[in-house]
């Protein structure tokens, strides 16, 4: 049999065949799009990490755990990067001073700004045009524009201020750099992110696989009957396999092509809409390596064909007909697999370090997924039997018996959504633990200038601000409880080292922090920031407008939208699988439902049957999914910096809303019930 004949048979295989082809195409297209977008998002996060690496060049010189940037310059340059804010928006102010004729140049610049010159990012230049008072923080001639290579995202506010070596060489944290690298100081967090993403991508893959399996099962019975007819006409088993492979492979290849096109559109939408750490992505960062694209585009159709082959293998057919091998009733032993996975995760602490057991965390998660997926049918069977015992109404009874009779099919249909609830709870637990507190601890109107320790004489104008509270060494106990109560949102006694009170007067006065009360206006805050930047370039200035930013924890705060996106992804895919499962279930029972309808059973009752079949087991197994999400997030968070907390009510509301949305989405398949149970399904001819 030629492949051409197989193609013709695939295309001319009747209504059910066409429906399956269309659904397979759509399912594969969605799966490929989602997978490529997930891979692009991972690539985008790492590209962003690398883009921010040059700002940490000074750290890289002093911190042994960071990879040294490549030395491209023999002369070197003095470099200092400071994080600052304008109205709560983060910005970077970098000072550079060439130490010779051939200094290293940060990415995005053709040359180093000379003393008195400033290079601005386009977004910062636009902001200065709107708020001219901001220009005082970057004194100098605006002569250069920072290119995209210097920015972590298109809207980033960055200034590179040219200075002479004399001006900054004595400023604390300034370092001599001979090149700019791509390893940010928070790289440990990116490595941790890699582990979390591996876990998440593994969790994301499962619903995609489930959905693809579901769409290939639509109207499988009709297909198998058709293949038996081919056997009767003289086709060999190999030719049957060829027909089946061509049929699904054709749809999968078309779907993969459509998915690739949708990905090209989707990554633009992603770049325009999704933000991480307050900034959108560069389109160029959302690029999937070619080998990953090939792997997805070839792997998904191959997987679809393999799924069809496996399902055919389960249906031995000869020229006289087919006989489906009865599947044994599901058993509870996969619970052991699940328990081992959970227990194993408790032995590894992915946030604590990089030992072998810590790196095994994804493996434990995979074990849990395998255990849960294998246990799911057993859970559905138990749920179905319990429902059947308790149900009083016919629709509930029919649904319960169906669930109990074919728990494999039931769990296949709902597993995507169930796994989604697991992912949502898991991510909420992990991100909630790692994210920093949302409050800065400063009262409104108070600006804190952290100098890192400078002479009081260097801070003249700031120290004269009325009611300023100064924390320093050499002053003795300068912070009185009354003052503290006025400006700082912490309680007495203030944990000042008692050694500070024992100065003999010979210690030079060093100011560590100043708390400056203002009228709360942005203009007043900006004046203090400008003065601080001029007096102490490395000062860290904060107000209650700023997001808390310390030790890379803000990175995890920025993960929230990504986590939400991942959850949305899983829910959409899960809902697609649910809809495909419902369509498949309807196609399989077209005749009994049509005859029931002919006998006077109302459409609303049939709809209730179909909905109950997916809703009841889905809710029950989703509750278990939520429980697993809580346990695994707790286990994954151990060894981290934060304390694991129960996810707040919004997470549970999200899960409930997600389940509802999935059911509503899947309900879009219900009109098919009306069309598939019409009069023509009653007839025999």
């Amino acid at each position: 049999m030629s492949p051409g004949l197989a193609v013709r048979l695939a295309v001319a295989g009747g209504r059910e065949s066409r429906v399956r082809l269309v659904f397979t195409t759509i399912g594969v297209a969605i799966g490929v799009t989602m997978l490529l977008l997930a891979l692009a998002a991972v690539a985008g996060v790492f590209a962003r990490a690398e883009r921010s690496g040059w700002k940490d060049a000074a750290y890289a010189v002093t911190l042994p755990e960071l990879a040294d940037p490549p030395a491209v310059s023999a002369d070197g340059a003095l470099f200092l990067a400071v994080t600052d804010y304008y109205d709560g928006t983060r910005m970077t102010r970098a000072y550079v001073a060439a130490l010779g004729a051939d200094p290293p140049v940060p990415p995005g610049l053709a040359r180093l700004p000379a003393p008195g010159e400033v290079a601005l990012s386009p977004a910062l230049r636009a902001l200065i045009a709107e708020a001219p008072e901001l220009a005082a923080r970057f004194p100098g001639r605006d002569t250069l524009t920072l290119g995209d290579d210097a920015l972590t995202h298109p809207d980033e506010l960055v200034a590179v201020v040219g200075r002479s070596p004399d001006q900054i060489q004595n400023v604390r944290s300034t370092a001599v750099v001979r090149g700019f690298g791509t390893t940010p100081s928070g790289y440990a967090y990116f490595l941790l992110l890699a582990v979390l993403m591996l876990i998440t991508v593994a969790l994301l893959l499962v619903p995609v696989i489930v959905m693809i399996v579901m769409v290939t099962r639509i109207a499988a019975a009709e297909r198998e009957q058709r293949l038996v007819a081919l056997r009767l006409a003289g086709a060999t088993r190999g030719q049957i396999a060829l027909v089946a492979a061509v049929e699904t492979g054709l749809a999968a290849v078309v779907g993969a092509g459509i998915g690739a096109c949708l990905f090209l559109i989707g990554r633009r939408v992603l770049a325009l809409t999704v933000t991480l750490q307050g900034g959108r992505f560069f389109l160029d960062d959302l690029v999937v390596p070619w080998w990953q694209v090939l792997l997805v585009l070839a792997g998904v159709p191959l997987f679809v064909v393999a799924t069809t082959m496996v399902s055919l293998f389960r249906v031995p057919m000869n020229v006289l007909g087919m006989r489906r091998r009865p599947r044994p009733a599901p058993q509870a032993w996969p619970a052991l697999l699940l328990a081992v996975g959970v227990a194993g995760q408790f032995t590894s602490r992915p946030l604590a370090g990089s030992s072998l057991t810590d790196q095994l965390a994804p493996l434990w998660v995979l074990l849990q997924i395998a255990g849960f997926v294998l246990l799911g049918p057993w859970l559905c069977m138990i749920a179905g039997r319990a429902m059947a015992r308790l149900s009083r109404r016919a629709p509930a009874l029919i649904a319960a018996r169906r669930v109990a009779a074919d728990p494999y099919a039931t769990f296949r249909a709902i597993s995507g959504v169930v796994l989604a609830t697991w992912v949502v709870t898991y991510m909420a637990g992990v991100v909630g633990t790692l994210a920093p507190p949302s409050e800065s601890g400063l009262r409104p109107g108070v600006v804190r200038v952290n100098t890192g320790g400078v002479s009081a004489s260097q801070l003249g104008p700031l120290l004269t601000v009325p009611q300023a509270v100064i924390v320093g060494t050499g002053f003795g106990p300068t912070v009185r409880c009354a003052d503290l109560d006025r400006v700082v949102d912490v309680n007495c006694p203030f944990p000042i080292d008692s050694g500070w009170n024992e100065g003999d007067g010979s210690i030079p006065v060093t100011v560590v922090e100043i708390y400056l009360p203002t009228d709360g206006s942005l203009a007043a805050e900006n004046r203090i920031r400008n003065e601080a930047a001029a007096l102490v370039p490395n000062a860290i200035v904060n107000s209650d407008r700023d997001p808390v930013d310390g030790d890379g924890l803000a990175f995890f705060n920025g993960l929230r939208p990504m986590a939400s996106l991942a959850c949305l992804f899983v829910l959409v895919v899960g809902a697609c699988a649910l809809a495909a499962g419902m369509v498949g279930g309807l196609a399989e029972r077209r005749r009994p439902f049509a005859l029931l309808r002919a006998s006077g059973v109302r459409m609303s009752e049939l709809r209730r049957v179909v909905l109950l079949e997916v809703t009841a087991p889905m809710v029950i197994t989703s509750l278990i999914g939520v429980g697993l999400g809580l346990v695994t997030s707790y286990a994954a968070s151990r060894g981290g910096t934060g304390e694991w907390r129960w996810p707040d009510i919004t997470v549970y509301a999200t899960v409930a809303g997600g389940l509802l949305a999935a059911i509503l989405f899947a309900s879009l398949a219900l009109p098919l019930l009306s069309s598939t149970t019409r009069h023509n399904a009653v007839r025999y001819e």
Binding site: S391, R393, L397, I398, R401, L595, G600, R602, E605, H679
Partner: protein, 226 residues
């Protein structure tokens, strides 16, 4: 005898195919009528129109003094579940429900308590010689047993008319005879009319009257053999 069900000048087309072209048929209360004819002659379409499953393109269907074909679909569905019973050739049993629950289904759909519905279904199992098969799934029943379960389901609500569309089409002659004897005897016991569609003269012989349908028209009516 006054007609309980009456179809007059019925026309029904499917695309360009005219399945009925002015067919007429009457069924009195308690009467058993067989509709026979070659494959594609329109006999099933006639049954579907008379049962309110299909609305005819032209013509009238009257049941107990009510114009059935003019009723909205929802009311026709109510009528089908309360006044009619149906036996089809195959595939009418819910594969996941055991025999007793399949029989009890119409009562459960009507809102009867589960315990009562199952108890009544149990009496029908005995009545139709299906004792001991109550927990069997449809896939585990022999063809004749399955059709008897379907028969019990059609009769459990006490319908006034049973519509049987090739009820023995998938059975051997012994099983077919068993099913037909039970159908006819029980219908007579309940006083229900039966409209039987078949292409087998041997099955049609169980009817009081036979109607031959050819090319969408009833062309001959004759008294039954039994």
């Amino acid at each position: 005898m006054a007609a309980l069900l009456k179809g007059r000048d019925l026309h029904r087309s499917f695309g360009r195919v005219q399945a009925l072209r002015g067919a007429c048929l009457e069924l009195a209360a308690g009467e058993i009528v067989a509709v026979i004819g070659p494959s594609g002659s329109g006999k099933s379409t006639l049954l579907h129109c008379l049962a309110g499953i299909l609305a005819p393109d032209l013509g009238e269907v009257w049941f107990d003094g009510r114009r059935l074909d003019e009723l909205p679909d929802r009311e026709r569905a109510v009528l089908r579940r309360s006044e009619f019973g149906f036996v089809f050739q195959f595939g009418q049993l819910i594969p996941e429900l055991p025999a007793i629950e399949n029989i009890a289904l119409p009562l459960l759909l009507a809102g009867r308590r589960r315990r009562d519905a199952l108890a009544e279904a149990g009496t029908w199992l005995t009545r139709l010689g299906l004792d001991g098969l109550d927990t069997r799934m449809p896939g585990e029943l022999a063809g004749g047993e399955g059709q008897r379960v379907a028969l019990a389901r059609a009769l459990i609500t006490g319908p006034r008319i049973v519509f049987a569309d090739e009820p023995t089409g998938a059975l051997d002659s012994i099983a077919a005879d068993q099913v037909m004897e039970l159908l006819v005897d029980t219908a007579r016991e309940l006083g229900a009319g039966v409209l039987l569609v078949t292409h087998e003269p041997r099955v049609a012989a169980y009817a009081d009257r036979t109607v031959l349908v050819r090319d969408g028209l009833d062309v001959l009516a004759r008294a039954g053999a039994s």
